[in-house]
Symmetry: C2
Subunit: 405 residues, 2 copies
């Protein structure tokens, strides 16, 4: 049983928030998480912030010091340390991974540390052209030959369609499901349903990636408060257990991979989590996976072990083909008869994907589902949750496992 607990969550609106600065967003998420945890700022000893490109988006580095000034009241809090952590779109997941290990380090030293893990991105102050250029900065050599992220994931989808009997519609169903969930999430960027027809007929942004297969550009922030299980009990907190966090790398370039349809980083991270927790994929009730594009959710379902490789499409079709007519959230059926509810938040597709925030926003959704705090898209009785956050086209992946105490 894990010794790390999440005792508070905070999450801003995701979307084009032109009237709010990145500091406003971090403050809102951070204070909400503190209030939820029922602790004062002064109790926090460290904070880890996932952020990809504040430098390129806003011309500002050293964001931790700025957060110390603005949110933690500068000098009045005298023993705090913040680190910014970056691994492209997996920055939030890496901040969670850093926090998990820092709590364990504290236990090793006989300390019950209380930390904040946050993530944020302010992406909409630039033109689309500039934003595309900045995002391409995570894909290295791929960008030199002209690949954007929609094109990279488009290639994966093309290959999947080539190697299997899947149809484009199988992936479009994923977008329909995620929008259906987001319609019950008031903090989602696209809090509305879309019909299968609408997804099918949306225009190609990098064919076969269509507009409604892709997550958008967003601003937003999220935060969680972590401590030891013992401290969570002492505080009388409404907590859940963070059982394990494992991150793994793969090559930065898609072209360097043995198999473009396997994210080795996801696979190895998931294997690490399953091995140390003795949890199997079929034991998981809810998962937030990194659906930056519809194909990414399909590949994640396979790489996380829910479905055999290149067979996910059959189960997606079977599980979601009539999802338009069902109430949210609609689960995936697993080969053994179990069910797993994926991206109840709306996922990156519909909740929004302010890149550095995503890994922490996933932790917020899982925590609040396990605490029974979600309405309208709740997964009743969920006891085991997983989150999956990817950087680039798979150069980094972080997989985390959560349990009800």
């Amino acid at each position: 049983m894990s010794q790390v607990a999440i005792i508070g969550t905070g999450h801003t609106q995701f979307g084009e928030l032109w009237h709010q600065s990145w500091v406003d967003l971090v403050e809102k998420a951070g204070l909400e998480a503190l209030e939820d945890a029922g602790i004062r700022k002064k109790r926090i000893q460290k904070f880890f912030m996932g952020n990809m490109s504040l430098g390129m988006f806003e011309g500002q580095e050293h964001s931790a010091s700025k957060v110390f000034s603005e949110i933690f009241n500068g000098q009045s809090n005298s023993s705090l340390l913040g680190r910014r952590i970056e691994g492209a779109c997996a920055s939030g997941g890496l901040a969670l991974e850093a926090s998990f290990n820092d709590i364990l380090a504290g236990i090793q030293r006989g300390e019950d540390r209380i930390l904040m893990a946050g993530g944020f991105e302010k992406m909409t102050d630039k033109t689309t052209e500039e934003t595309t250029r900045i995002l391409a900065g995570a894909s290295d050599i791929d960008k030199e030959v002209g690949f954007t992220f929609p094109a990279l994931y488009g290639m994966m989808k093309d290959r999947y369609l080539h190697e299997t009997d899947a149809r484009e519609e199988d992936f479009d169903l994923i977008a329909v499901k995620n929008h259906k969930n987001a319609a019950h999430n008031p903090k989602a960027q696209y809090s509305f349903e879309v019909s299968l027809d609408k997804v099918k007929n949306s225009f190609g942004v990098a064919e076969p990636t269509k507009l409604l297969n892709a997550s958008g550009i967003a601003d937003g922030a999220a935060a969680v408060i972590l401590t030891t299980r013992e401290m969570a009990e002492d505080l009388g907190a409404d907590y859940i257990l963070l059982e394990e966090v494992v991150g793994r790398n793969d090559t930065v370039g898609l072209f360097e991979r043995r198999d473009p349809l396997t994210l080795e980083s996801t696979k190895k991270a998931a294997e690490g989590v399953y091995e140390s927790t003795e949890v199997k994929p079929e034991d998981i009730d809810i998962a937030e996976v990194h659906d930056c594009f519809s194909i990414a959710e399909a590949l994640a379902l396979e790489d996380l072990g829910f479905y055999p490789k290149k067979e996910g499409w059959k189960w997606i079709r079977k599980s979601l083909s009539d999802c338009e007519d069902k109430d949210a959230p609609v689960p995936y059926q697993l080969p053994g008869g179990e069910k797993v509810w994926v991206n109840s938040s709306g996922g990156l597709k519909a909740k929004g994907h302010p890149v550095g925030a995503t890994g922490i926003a996933q932790a917020v959704e899982i925590t609040d589902q396990l605490r029974g705090r979600i309405e309208g898209r709740e997964v009743s009785g969920a006891e085991v949750g997983l989150s999956h956050n990817v950087g680039g086209s798979g150069g980094t992946a972080v997989v985390s496992l959560y349990k009800k105490p």
Copy 2:
């Protein structure tokens, strides 16, 4: 006694290295550290890389994944995780702090982890104007009113001169001493001596900051390999102990501080180190301190507890006034009669300051001094070392303590 050991070091040439990419530099430092530690790449489980602004300098984020591809051979190493860590010029120190805690987390889980902590920056591919703009990105509101870093530290120096009987020459001696040390460091950017007259007569870049009071713009990388003390023994490594690493924040803006002559972040971090290790400033033999400007070394000597506040100048004058005629390295004399050798590497001033690399380069110098690996500027018999790495004008500071086993 600490349970964390440093078993290998690597350090590139610092300077204007136009013919080497940031990947070349990280590879060179990383492989050198691995070779020194006598271990193969595959033994590394995680790597933490301090870097301030690869995005703004080179248009690239997600550097950990790139390093995984290029240095750790991509897929052939299957269970590795890298994180980039940023806190302006303290990024390297924060990577060391992260590594220290991660080793402790491993011990808590019964694992002897082996990690690489690296730091790098590629700063000379941009024009001076662009570089100035990028560096100002760490100083937030200060930059909006037109402050550059030389101007911020110039203000501190002006205030120090106003509040004490110090003369500009007292600070110029610091530059003379550091250049004298760098003349024996072939990896230093400015590996030559400068006379006191030359420093005194150098032109003002932001008066009273003169050119030869300031560190330059440089490319470079450094790396250390860390593990548990037990593993270091098992490997038969030539190791030193990393006793403690403490980081603290202060406000990002200089104007928000109670006292512009005290870096609260340094003071609190040092207090944390002294308290947990029961080491006193006078027990320290060698220190690498963050002398981005001459005044910064003077303030560091006070904030780290070597001298009372606003009295450091007297001891600097007393210790260094005839340093031009002495052999390197020339120590500072402490009030109790002890000596401490500061910036034997040449410091940021003369060894160079590729910002993300600095905190790790300091760890390399201290480790190699304690292992008796330094020639020409060696501090014979040194047993206790300290490093001090600052981000911005003091928004982050990391203080680390090292001991011979």
